[in-house]
C-alpha cells in the first residue's frame, strides 16, 4: 500500500503529481516508514557543505533573495527579561523591517516586505497581537513547556489552548526528546497528535530539538513521526540547545519532508531556528531549500527562519547593495 502510493507520487521526475492544497492532516502511524529511514552522516555532510559552493547569488539577485528572506522570518524574542515594551518594539520592527528609503533606492518600494510572523512566549501573545493588529502578521507562541517540554502533559495542552485563545495563530511546540531517544514512536506520535488537536485552526510547528537527539537518523525518524502526527512545520531547535540549526540537520529534515510528501501527497513546512545570524547563512538555507525542494519552499507557507539577530545583518547587506558602501548597524532602526 505504502509503496504503491509512493510510486504513484514519484511517477514523473520525483515531483508529486498531486499535492493537496490543504494543511497536512497527518497520517496513521506507519512504523515501516520510520524503520526504512537510512541516513549516511558523512554523505549528508558532504552535500550540505557543497550546496553553498555549487550555488551563489550576487548583486541584485542577492538583494532580492535577502528581501525574500525577510518575508520568511519568524522575528523572535524568547528572553527571560522580555517585557511588553520590548515585544512592542519587536512588532514595530516586524511591520517595517527595512528602511523605506533603502527599499525605494533598490526598486523594492512596492514589494510586500514584512516578516512572516512574530514569535514570543505565551505571556506576550496578547501584546503582540495588539501591536500587529491590521498588518496581517500572525503571532506565533512557543508553547507546551518550551524549551524542555517536560511539564505535565495536561498543562502543556492547556498552554496551547491558552495561547490560541489569546490570539496566537501559530504554535511552536517541543517534542519529548526521551520518546525519540528511546524509540517510543507511538508516544511521540500521540503527543504531537494531541498538540495538533489542541491547536485547532492554529498551525503547529513541531520543534525536534535536534541538538539533543544524538544522531541524524533520530532526527529523520522524529521528523517523519511528527509529520505523520499532523505537524504543519517541522522545526530544528528551540534556540536553547547547545547545537541548533545546522545545514546537515536541515538537509536531513528536508529530505524526510520530501519523502513524506512523496508518500502522502501532503506538503509540510520547514523551520531552521537558532544559529541563523548572518545574511550569508540565510542565503545558504535558501539555496538548500531551492535545490532540494524548489521555489515552492521559499514561501512563508512552507519555510521560516526562526531568528532574532538575522534581520540586522540583512539590512546592512541590503544597504551595501544600494550604496556600494559597507553599512553599520546603528544606521538601521533597532527592534
Amino acid at each position: 500500500m505504502a509503496n504503491m502510493q509512493r510510486n504513484t507520487a514519484l511517477e514523473r521526475g520525483g515531483r508529486p503529481l498531486r499535492l493537496h492544497a490543504d494543511r497536512n492532516p497527518g497520517f496513521p502511524l506507519e512504523l515501516d516508514w520510520v524503520r526504512d529511514i537510512r541516513i549516511n552522516r558523512s554523505a549528508v555532510e558532504r552535500r550540505a557543505e557543497t550546496i553553498a559552493k555549487r550555488r551563489t547569488v550576487k548583486k541584485q539577485w542577492q538583494a532580492a533573495w535577502l528581501l525574500r528572506a525577510i518575508t520568511l522570518m519568524d522575528l523572535t524574542t524568547l528572553q527571560g527579561d522580555d517585557t511588553e515594551g520590548t515585544v512592542r518594539r519587536l512588532c514595530a520592527k516586524a511591520r517595517n523591517p527595512v528602511r523605506a528609503d533603502l527599499l525605494e533606492s533598490i526598486g523594492a518600494a512596492d514589494l510586500p516586505i514584512r516578516v512572516a510572523a512574530v514569535c514570543v512566549y505565551h505571556s506576550f501573545v496578547a501584546t503582540a497581537v495588539g501591536a500587529l493588529r491590521g498588518t496581517g502578521i500572525p503571532v506565533a507562541a512557543v508553547s507546551a513547556g518550551f524549551p524542555a517540554g517536560l511539564s505535565p502533559f495536561d498543562q502543556r495542552v492547556a498552554e496551547i489552548h491558552a495561547s490560541v485563545a489569546a490570539g496566537a495563530r501559530e504554535i511552536d511546540i517541543v517534542v519529548t526528546r526521551s520518546h525519540v531517544l528511546n524509540g517510543d514512536w507511538e508516544a511521540l506520535y500521540d503527543e504531537v497528535r494531541a498538540f495538533r488537536e489542541a491547536c485547532g485552526d492554529a498551525h503547529l510547528k513541531a520543534i525536534l530539538a535536534v541538538g539533543e537527539l544524538g544522531t541524524l537518523r533520530n532526527v529523520a525518524r522524529a521528523s517523519m513521526v511528527a509529520m505523520m502526527a499532523g505537524a504543519d512545520f517541522i522545526k530544528t531547535s528551540t534556540g536553547k540547545e547547545s547545537v541548533n540549526a545546522t545545514l546537515p540537520v536541515s538537509l536531513v529534515m528536508v529530505r524526510t519532508l520530501r519523502d513524506y510528501m512523496e508518500r502522502t501527497g501532503h506538503a509540510v513546512g520547514f523551520k531552521p531556528a537558532g544559529g541563523v545570524r548572518t545574511a550569508k547563512q540565510a542565503l545558504d538555507w535558501m539555496l538548500l531549500m531551492k535545490e532540494e525542494l524548489g521555489n515552492e519552499w521559499l514561501t512563508p507557507e512552507r519555510f521560516r527562519f526562526g531568528a532574532s539577530s538575522l534581520l540586522g545583518d540583512i539590512e546592512r547587506q541590503i544597504e551595501h547593495f544600494a550604496t556600494g558602501r559597507y553599512s553599520a548597524q546603528h544606521r538601521h532602526p533597532m527592534a
Binding site: G14, R38, S42, R54, R68
Partner: protein, 802 residues
C-alpha cells in the same frame, strides 16, 4: 532583471569569476608560449605552433609550441644534466623546494584555477575547490616524503630522468601527481601536458623558476602525440609515467618493451557504482552527481555504471531524474554551474556517437528538459536505463556525463557485474551495512573502493588500477616506489652480475644422447619420469614429447615433458580454480610455506645430488638447497606480515591500503641456481595468495620437477603452483599473450623479456623483467621488492559517523 522581478522568481542570475588576471597573464606572453627546457624558454625548433582553445566559447586562448624529437632530446639532456646536482642537493634541500612549490601554488591558487577552467572547460567550483587545493596538498605531502625519504626508503635511489605524459581532464592535478613524487625521490623530469590543456603547466614552469628550482629539474615540453612518442622512445629516459587512455597506454607498453624503462600507467575505467537496497538513497543521488557529473564525466575513475538492487531501482531512477533537472550546465567560469564544457569537439562527437549507439541498441536515454548553451561544447547529463551488460555503452568508456544503470538481485551478482569489465580502476559501494560494505570491497577488482562516497582523492592515498586500467600507484607510500629503484642495482649493473654455473642448453635437438645412466650394483635405476605439474597432479604433456636433460659434461640425467600452449592453458585454468588460496588466512599460507621448507630440508641431500648431477658442483648444490630452505622460511615469515596501512587522509574516514594478491602470475625462472631461482620467484608469489604457472630452469629443470612430491606432501593445494617444463621462449610468449593471467615475471637473462613485455600489452598484465641476479644474495634475491610485485595495493575509503 530588477530586484522586484527576482524577488518573485528567485532565479540564480550570473555569478562570473573574472578572467581578467588570467587574460592579463596570457597577454603578457603575447598569447604565445615556447618550451621550458633547462630553466629557459625556447622556441620549438620546428617553428610550429598550435592553438589552445577555450571549449566554453570556442575562442583561441594562446599559441602553443609543438616540440619535435630534437626539442625532446634537448629537454632530456637538460634533465640528465640536472640529475646529479639535484641528487647531491640532498633530502632536505629537495624538501625545501617542494615546500616552496606548495606555498606558491596556494599563493597563486585562483590564477591557476581560472586558467584551468578557461583552458579545460571544467566548472570554476571544481578547479577552485578541488583540483588546485589537491595540487597544493600533493606538493606539501611530498615535501614531507622528500625530507624523510633517506630513512624511510633506505636502500633505494632515484630512477633518473623521468618522462611524464599527462591527460587533459585534470591538467594541473595530474601534473602534481607526476612531478611531486618524482622530485621528492630525487629524479628530474620532462613533462608533456595534453595538447588541449597546456596553459597551467606552462604557468607552473614559471612558478618553478620563481621558486628558484634548479634549471633542468623540471622541463615542460608541449605538443601532440608526436611529442609524446619522441619522449617515450628516447634512449636516455629511465622511466615513463603516463596517464591517459588504455589505447595509448598499450602503445606505450609496446614501444617501451625491452628498453629497460620503468613504466607506470594510469588508464581508463568503467567503474561500477553499486547501490544496495539499504543505502541512503538521497545521498546516493548526490553520489551519482559526484561520480559522473563531476568534470563533465571526463574522469578516468567516474562511476559510469550504476548497479542498483532491483527492488529500489525505480525509486532511484525517479530521484536521479528529478535531481538531473536541477543540475546547471553552462559557462564554467560561473560559480553556480555544475557542469561545464566538454574539452574539445572530437570528445563531444565521441559522446554523441556512443549515446546514439546506446539508443540504437535499445537503451532508454533520459536527459533533463532544459537545453545546453550553444556557444561552446556542452553536453547534458544523461541517464541510460534498460541497459544490459552486452550493450556497447555498458562496456566502453564514454568519458562524458553519461551513466548507464543496470540492476542486480544479490551481493554476489553485484560483484559479478562489477567485475564484468576489462578495467579495474575504482568502484563505489553504497550501503548502511558495514558487513556488506567490507565484504564487497575486497571482491571488486579495482585499485580504489569508495564506501558511501565517490571521487575523493588525497596525496596520502595511492591511486591506480587493476587489469587494463594500468599499473603502478600514485600517492601514498605505495606511489613512491614508482620513482625509485634498489640501490644495489647501480653498483652491479645488469649483465655483469654473477651468474650461477649453467648446465648445457637442454633443447632436444642439441642434446647428445648419452648411454651413461645412473644405477648401482649393476642394477639399472628405476626410470623416473618428470611430467608436468598442473592442478596438483602430474600431467603428461599435451604433445607427448620429452626433452632430455644432461649434466654440464654431457651425461644424460633425465627427461622432462615438453609443454606447449595447451598445457599452459590447462595450468592457467587450474590456477584460477585454486582461487581459494587467495582467501586462505595468511597464517595458513605461512604454515604451508614452513612445511614446504621442512619437507625440502628432509630431502636436502637428494636435491643436492640432483642439482650436482646437472651442474657438476656438489658443494654449491648443497649450499643452494640450504639457501632455498631459508628462502622458504623468509616468505613463510612474510606471509602474515606484509601488512597494509591506514592512510592519513584529511577527512573523517578510514583509508585502508590493503595488499591483495595480483592473481595468477606466470613465472619464468632463471637457468642458474635452478632450485633457488625457482623458489625465489615462486615463494613470494604464493606467500601472498597468488597462484603461479612456473616455467623452471631450462638447463636444469629437474630441480623443480623433483619438487612435485614435496609440494604434494606439504599441503600446497592443487593449482597453487603449476609447473610447465619445455621451450622457454614459446611458453613465455604463450603466457604473455594469455589474457587471463594477471602478472608475468621473467627472470631468465636471454633477452626474452622484451617480447614478453610487448605481448603483455594485450591485457596490460603486470610484467617484471629481472636479469641475472645473484639469487644467493638476500639483498638481490628476496625481500620487499618481491612482495610489492606480488601484490596490488587497494585503497578502501570508509567514511564513518552516525
Amino acid at each position: 532583471m530588477n530586484v522586484a522581478e527576482i524577488f518573485e522568481t528567485l532565479e540564480y542570475g550570473p555569478a562570473p569569476e573574472s578572467p581578467a588576471a588570467a587574460n592579463a597573464w596570457l597577454d603578457a606572453h603575447d598569447r604565445r608560449f615556447g618550451l621550458f627546457i633547462g630553466g629557459e624558454w625556447r622556441e620549438p625548433s620546428s617553428g610550429e605552433y598550435f592553438d589552445s582553445v577555450n571549449p566554453a566559447n570556442r575562442r583561441t586562448l594562446a599559441a602553443i609550441a609543438q616540440a619535435d624529437a630534437g626539442d625532446v632530446d634537448r629537454a632530456v639532456k637538460a634533465a640528465r644534466a640536472a640529475l646529479a646536482p639535484w641528487r647531491a642537493l640532498g633530502a632536505h634541500g629537495r624538501a625545501r623546494y617542494l615546500y616552496a612549490i606548495a606555498r606558491h601554488m596556494q599563493k597563486h591558487a585562483r590564477m591557476f584555477a581560472v586558467l584551468e577552467t578557461m583552458d579545460n572547460g571544467k566548472p570554476i567550483r571544481e578547479s577552485r575547490d578541488i583540483d588546485i587545493p589537491l595540487v597544493a596538498r600533493h606538493f606539501y605531502h611530498h615535501a614531507g616524503w622528500a625530507q624523510i625519504a633517506g630513512r624511510e626508503l633506505e636502500g633505494y635511489e632515484p630512477v633518473g630522468v623521468v618522462g611524464q605524459i599527462i591527460p587533459w581532464n585534470f591538467p594541473m592535478l595530474m601534473l602534481a601527481w607526476k612531478i611531486a613524487p618524482a622530485l621528492a625521490m630525487g629524479n628530474t623530469v620532462v613533462l608533456k601536458p595534453a595538447e588541449y590543456t597546456s596553459l597551467t603547466a606552462l604557468r607552473f614552469a614559471e612558478l618553478c623558476a620563481e621558486v628558484g628550482l634548479p634549471a633542468g629539474v623540471v622541463n615542460i615540453i608541449t605538443g601532440d602525440g608526436r611529442t609524446g612518442e619522441a619522449l617515450v622512445k628516447h634512449d636516455d629516459v629511465d622511466k615513463i609515467a603516463f596517464t591517459g587512455s588504455t589505447d595509448v597506454g598499450r602503445i606505450i607498453r609496446v614501444a617501451t618493451a625491452g628498453s629497460g624503462k620503468k613504466l607506470s600507467l594510469e588508464l581508463g575505467g568503467k567503474s561500477p557504482f553499486i547501490v544496495f537496497e539499504d543505502a541512503d538513497l538521497d545521498s546516493v543521488v548526490e553520489g551519482v552527481v559526484d561520480a559522473i557529473w563531476f568534470n563533465q564525466g571526463q574522469v578516468c575513475c567516474a562511476g559510469s555504471r550504476i548497479l542498483v538492487q532491483e527492488g529500489i531501482a525505480d525509486r532511484l531512477v525517479a530521484k536521479l531524474r528529478a535531481r538531473m533537472e536541477t543540475l546547471r550546465v553552462g559557462d564554467p567560469l560561473d560559480k553556480g554551474i555544475d557542469i561545464g564544457a566538454i574539452v574539445a569537439p572530437v570528445q563531444l562527437e565521441q559522446i554523441e556517437r556512443l549515446v546514439e549507439q546506446g539508443r540504437e541498441e535499445g537503451a532508454t536515454i533520459w536527459q533533463p528538459s532544459w537545453s545546453c548553451p550553444e556557444d561552446g561544447y556542452f553536453y547534458p547529463p544523461t541517464l541510460c536505463t534498460e541497459v544490459s551488460p552486452a550493450a556497447t555503452i555498458a562496456q566502453v568508456e564514454i568519458f562524458g556525463p553519461v551513466v548507464v544503470l543496470m540492476t542486480f538481485r544479490t551481493p554476489g551478482e553485484a560483484v559479478a557485474l562489477a567485475n564484468n569489465t576489462r578495467y579495474g580502476l575504482a568502484a563505489s559501494v553504497w550501503t548502511e551495512n558495514v558487513n556488506l560494505a567490507l565484504d564487497i570491497a575486497p571482491k571488486v577488482k579495482a585499485g580504489t573502493i569508495w564506501i558511501n562516497c565517490t571521487n575523493v582523492f588525497d596525496a596520502a592515498s595511492g591511486f591506480g588500477g587493476y587489469r587494463e586500467s594500468g599499473f603502478g600507484r600514485e600517492g601514498g607510500r605505495e606511489g613512491l616506489f614508482e620513482y625509485v629503484k634498489p640501490s644495489w642495482e647501480s653498483h652491479e649493473p645488469a649483465g655483469t652480475r654473477r651468474r650461477g654455473k649453467s648446465a648445457r642448453a637442454g633443447a632436444a635437438a642439441d642434446a647428445k644422447r648419452s648411454t651413461k645412466r645412473g644405477g648401482t650394483d649393476g642394477m639399472p635405476a628405476i626410470d623416473r619420469t618428470a611430467k608436468l605439474y598442473i592442478g596438483g597432479k602430474q600431467a603428461r604433456p599435451d604433445q607427448g614429447y620429452s626433452t632430455p636433460v644432461t649434466s654440464a659434461d654431457g651425461v644424460f640425467v633425465g627427461e622432462v615433458g615438453e609443454g606447449n600452449r595447451k598445457d599452459v592453458r590447462n595450468a592457467v585454468e587450474a590456477a584460477h580454480k585454486a582461487e581459494g588460496w587467495a582467501r586462505a588466512t595468511a597464517h595458513n599460507r605461512a604454515q604451508v610455506l614452513f612445511y614446504l621448507a621442512e619437507n625440502l630440508a628432509a630431502r636436502a641431500d637428494e636435491f643436492a645430488d640432483r642439482i650436482a648431477a646437472m651442474t657438476g658442483d656438489r658443494k654449491a648444490a648443497a649450499a643452494e638447497v640450504d639457501a632455498s630452505v631459508q628462502r622458504l622460511f623468509t616468505y613463510a615469515a612474510w606471509a602474515d606480515k606484509w601488512d597494509g596501512a591506514v592512510h592519513r587522509t584529511p577527512f573523517r574516514n578510514v583509508t585502508l591500503a590493503m595488499h591483495e594478491p595480483v592473481g595468477v602470475i606466470g613465472v619464468i625462472c632463471p637457468d642458474e641456481q635452478p632450485l633457488l631461482g625457482f623458489i625465489s620467484a615462486v615463494a613470494p608469489a604464493i606467500a601472498l595468495g597468488n597462484r603461479v604457472v612456473a616455467v623452471p630452469s631450462v638447463t636444469a629443470p629437474l630441480a623443480a620437477t623433483d619438487l612435485y612430491q614435496v609440494l604434494d606432501t606439504s599441503d600446497v593445494p592443487g593449482g597453487v603452483v603449476n609447473i610447465i617444463t619445455g621451450p622457454r621462449t614459446d611458453l613465455a610468449n604463450v603466457l604473455a599473450s594469455h589474457d587471463d593471467i594477471d602478472g608475468l615475471w621473467y627472470f631468465a637473462h636471454d633477452g626474452g623479456g622484451a617480447e614478453v613485455e610487448r605481448l603483455s600489452a594485450g591485457n596490460m598484465k603486470r610484467t617484471w623483467i629481472v636479469a641475472g641476479r645473484d639469487w644467493a644474495d638476500p639483498l638481490q634475491g628476496e625481500g620487499e621488492e618481491y612482495l610489492r610485485h606480488a601484490s596490488e595495493v587497494k585503497n578502501i575509503w570508509v567514511p564513518y559517523g552516525e
